[in-house]
């Protein structure tokens, strides 16, 4: 288990500054949520910290090492990401076997067949799925494959970019429980972006509320029901979500 720290992260796209000095401390083995409206910069934090997006200022540390100082191989093996849309995050012409064996080939890890089977077993898919293509699987199964792809390099930290928002409700619960189980089994540190407060409530011990590229407030899980938010924006956002859920 390893902590993640983000210090003074700022990012601009042209004239628009999308992140303003974001600071986050995520403890080892914690599941940390990031919530906010669309465009508040939640996903950008993950994309910057994973170096998918470059050109930002500040530091992102995994343990004691900055992600910029890690070698590519080291970074890949400490940090992986699960994306929002399982329809877009799997290559339409790659079979599950290709998806899972590529990272093993890149990092010259032996024992590929066993590792691939183990990864599929971890996410609750039978080994026969190795020969399936994305269009032969349901959304939930695809997301499981995407999670298996993130697991196969044995990372310490997994970024979850709205991992369930493209799935329907019953599948959402399955995937969330799977992610919870994997965390307790493998001791991952999660940072999860979501705009669904119920998901955050289910998964995360703590979460940060973001607005216009700033962290407005960092709250505990209890703050959702216990109205522990101090800033007006966080209170408003939580109130709106709860009202919406009650209306359902």
């Amino acid at each position: 288990m390893i902590p993640v720290t983000i210090e003074q992260m700022s990012m601009r796209f042209g004239a628009v500054k999308v992140l303003h000095d974001v600071n986050l401390t995520v403890q080892a083995g914690e599941c940390f949520g990031l919530i906010g409206e669309s465009g508040s910069g939640k996903s950008t934090v993950l994309r910057c910290a994973s170096l998918l997006q470059d050109g930002w200022r500040g530091r992102a540390m995994i343990g004691d090492t900055s992600v910029r100082d890690m070698s590519v191989a080291q970074r890949c093996r400490s940090l992986q990401m699960v994306f929002q849309d399982p329809y877009g995050s799997l290559h339409p012409r790659h079979s599950v076997r290709t998806v899972l064996s590529e990272p093993l080939k890149i990092h010259a890890i032996g024992d590929a067949p066993d590792r691939m089977r183990a990864a599929l077993r971890d996410v609750g898919l039978p080994a026969e799925f190795l020969d399936r293509y994305p269009h032969q699987m349901s959304g939930g199964q695809r997301q499981r494959v995407a999670i298996a792809r993130a697991l196969i390099l044995d990372p310490k930290v997994v970024f979850l970019d709205e991992p369930t928002s493209a799935l329907d409700v019953s599948v959402q619960a399955e995937i969330l429980n799977l992610l919870m189980r994997l965390r307790s089994e493998k001791g991952f540190t999660y940072i999860m972006v979501s705009h669904d407060l119920a998901v955050v409530d289910h998964m995360c011990e703590r979460f940060a509320v973001m607005q216009h590229g700033r962290i407005v407030e960092v709250l505990d899980r209890d703050a959702i029901t216990g109205a522990g938010a101090k800033t007006s924006y966080a209170r408003e956002l939580i109130g709106a979500s709860l009202a919406y859920e009650n209306a359902l």
């Binding site: 998918l52 990401m81 290559h91 790659h94 067949p113 066993d114 792809r149």
Partner: protein, 300 residues
Amino acid sequence: MTMSDTSRATDARRAMPQSLIALRNICVFLARTPTSAFGLIVLGVLIFTAIFAPLIATHDPYVQDLQNTLAPPDAAHFFGTDELGRDIFSRLVHGSRITLTIISLVTVVVGPIGLFMGTVAGYFGGRVDTVLMRITDIFLSFPSLILSLAFVAALGPSLNNAIIAISLTAWPPIARLARAETMTFRKADYIAAARLQGASPARIIWKSIVPMCLPSVMIRLTLNMATVILTAAGLGFLGLGAQPPMPEWGAMIATGRRYMIDSWWLVTFPGLAILSVSLAFNLLGDGLRDALDPKQMMKR
């Protein structure tokens, strides 16, 4: 142990047919549409004729018979004879080899170059894109026949130089197409995932981007073949492609032109051959476009 053995055996059985099944599906699809079926048949006939040219030809295409010049079509000479008494049918049959050589060599050269330039420019973007695309623009800014004329004029007229010249003018549209395709999915999550797994740009381009570009590039190449045939025939007609006495179809029309009024068969048959082959490639390309449409692939 036994379990992994059996699963490995099924791997081998399944990995191989996947591409074969796709190929069969495409062929079945093409054969079902009348127009692309026509294209397939003409292409089949062309390849068959090229392979078995010496067996199909009734005469030697180079042997002259000055006693029997400009003879109209009859039982001995199906398509008549030309101004030197050579059998036009046999010359057409042997000419199919030249046509096929030109098409295949140009395609083999143009496909990889276009794909490389396009995917690299599209994936990296920025300065790389600007440099590669301006080079492409330079080639695109000339009419292709004029540019190939200039190349052949500089290199000297011969069949090989014609092939080089045509290749030089045929790759930019492919590069453009591959770049446009690449740009639509370079930001896709599966590319991001590949980057997070430490894949090098070369690996991402080869393994993730090229397979996505390939169908449209194949379609474009097939449609291009018609143009290639016409350009080759045009160069031959202008005397800059295949040199006499080679039985190249365009060159045959060029020499037959002088006798066209009295001996119509000299230009008609090579003309029909060029027409049907280029039409066939156009129809086949159209059919491929339908067959390789990703939405239709999903259904199968």
